[in-house]
């Protein structure tokens, strides 16, 4: 293997330090025994214990979870449907406009999305709460889902669906039995993406949340305005771990699946030759 030059080593170190040093500091201070965030007073896990006693944080976590699961599931259903229409329907009047409108919220400033949703809810007289946050998160997450799913559908061999029709499936069961299982990885990553987006959204949630429902990001943000506490550090460390486990887990699973497929194909080639 080629040795790395000093220049490469330096830029690598600096780059990673820039990315991860803040998080490392946060994780380290979450185990600080002192109440003062910037003074190290020995190792302790007591803030994690205190966190579990803090009803406000637990409530916010529960709201966040409910919103995340509900919104990402709704967004996945709607986003997948939109992707199917955009990729499959061929040309119909207004197709370009329609696809443009699906993707516009991706580049729309969140403040505008949040504000317009707020105005909508007020004018409809809807009480703001968990329900309105779910609707708001569904709205912006479905664009991301539809991007992920349509990029998979573009390379999907449509003759598979035709084969299912040919073998007696109705169009809907062809989708359920053939298309959906095959594009499932894309649909699942769309769901995960939507869930992550919902998990860390602060702006839109602040506009659409009512006094009855506070999500974790809102809670953290308002808590931090009164000063950073070690409890917050502990909470953030937990969130980092959940995300890290998720990311590492999925990438390992994908890698394993790819390796297995390659091995199978080689075995088949040997058997044939």
């Amino acid at each position: 293997m080629r040795r790395l030059s000093w220049f490469n080593v330096t830029s690598l170190t600096l780059g990673f330090a820039f990315l991860y040093l803040p998080m490392v500091i946060l994780v380290i201070y979450s185990f600080n025994a002192s109440k003062l965030v910037t003074v190290w007073a020995g190792f302790s896990t007591k803030w994690y214990g205190e966190l579990l006693q803090n009803q406000a944080f637990l409530d916010a976590a529960w709201v966040t979870l409910k919103v995340g699961v509900a919104a990402s599931t709704l967004a996945t259903v709607l986003g997948t449907m939109a992707a199917l229409v955009l990729v499959r329907a061929g040309r119909f009047p207004g197709r370009t406009l329609f696809s443009g409108m699906i993707y516009a919220p991706l580049v729309m400033p969140e403040v505008i999305t949040g504000l317009s949703l707020l105005l909508l809810f007020i004018s409809l007289g809807v009480d703001r709460g968990v329900f309105t946050i779910i609707l708001a998160h569904t709205t912006f997450a479905m664009c991301y889902v539809s991007v992920v799913v349509s990029s998979r559908l573009v390379t999907f061999d449509q003759s598979l669906e035709e084969a299912a029709l040919d073998l007696g499936c109705s169009p809907f069961s062809a989708f359920r039995l053939v298309t959906l299982p095959i594009i499932a990885p894309a649909v699942i990553s769309g769901w995960l993406l939507a869930f992550t987006l919902s998990l860390d959204d602060l702006v839109i949630a602040s506009f659409t949340a009512g006094p009855s429902a506070t999500t974790l990001p809102i809670k953290i943000f308002s808590a931090v305005r009164l000063g950073v506490s070690p409890e917050i550090n502990a909470l953030c460390t937990i969130m980092i771990s959940i995300v890290a486990v998720g990311v590492i887990g999925t990438s390992l699973a994908t890698k394993r699946a790819a390796q297995r497929q390659k091995r199978d194909e080689q075995a088949a080639a040997r058997a044939a030759g």
């Binding site: 061999d157 035709e162 044939a272």
Partner: protein, 378 residues
Amino acid sequence: MAVPVFAPWDDPTQKPLIQFKGVTKRFGDFTAIDNQTLDIYTREFFALLGPSGCGKTTMMRMLAGFEQPTEGQIVIGGKDMKGVPPNEREVNMMFQSYALFPHLSVWENIAFGLRRMNQPKDVLEARVEEMLRLTRLTKFAKRKPHQISGGQRQRVALARSLARAPKLLLLDEPLGALDKKLREETQFELMDIQENTGTTFVIVTHDQEEAMTVASRIAVMDEGRVIQVATPSNIYEAPNSVYVADFIGDVNIIEGAAKRAGDGYDITWAEGVPPLHTRKEEGELISIPDGGKAYLAIRPEKVAIHTEKPQGMTNAVQGRIIDVAYLGNLSTYHVRLANGTMVRAQTANTRRLALRPFTWEDEVWLSWTDTAAILLAE
């Protein structure tokens, strides 16, 4: 005892299984199929043959129900197919790309169509096992499509499309991905299966040898139109146009002016040499006005080659050997005639190499009988 010949197309009491009635298919302003009328009969092994892009797949997709004719009517089993979706047709298709379901095992791929028929479990299982045996895939039943070889995948696709015992099986270039030897084996397998199951097969191919081997009748297509429909031997021996003659096998075309003479036509094709004569067979409908343009199509294996001018042959022409293609069992001599026309003569190599009398630059005579050439008007 005479074996009854299978020729329902000659029997006016037979009703065709498939009827194309003036079918036109347009994609935008491109005409893929142009006013097509065609009958296909039960138990036929019908081949659609033609160059890439001539509309073969489009014909199949209209039969399967994936495309609707722009004009005209398709009738299958006496029923107009207009508006009948693919899943309600007793037709199955083997796709050019096989279209195996990658997330299902070989067993489940074959069972897929049967599950849609609400059969009892044991009937379904027996049918799948039967299909696995028929296509010799029993050993691979548990594998996924990506775990088997190309030839095995092709057999899975065949088994899957046969499992529902369709009235009509459509095969779109089914053997395209196989090498020559495996392809030939599979052709005979297909013919066996077709005979044993009594299914009507329509096969698309661009390989003329394949069509000649498997088909009861061949339709030669060009740019959205069927040029000729006939049995393989009639397509070969009695093509109706230069296009068909040229598409099927090797052929020499000599152009000239026709004139009625005796029992057929004399063709004047070059200055200062006697005209070529061809006899008009009984039943041949061709009629060319005197002096009209005509083409003689002569298969290379029907052209004899001599060192001396042959005596008593109606058609004899002189030329020089330009090239010799040695194919082992056969040799093809490329001979240039005085007016520049190239004619190929093919002989079987029944003697060892050293004893054969012709080589490059030799002056030779070519001859053929007055029934060997086919006279064509276009």
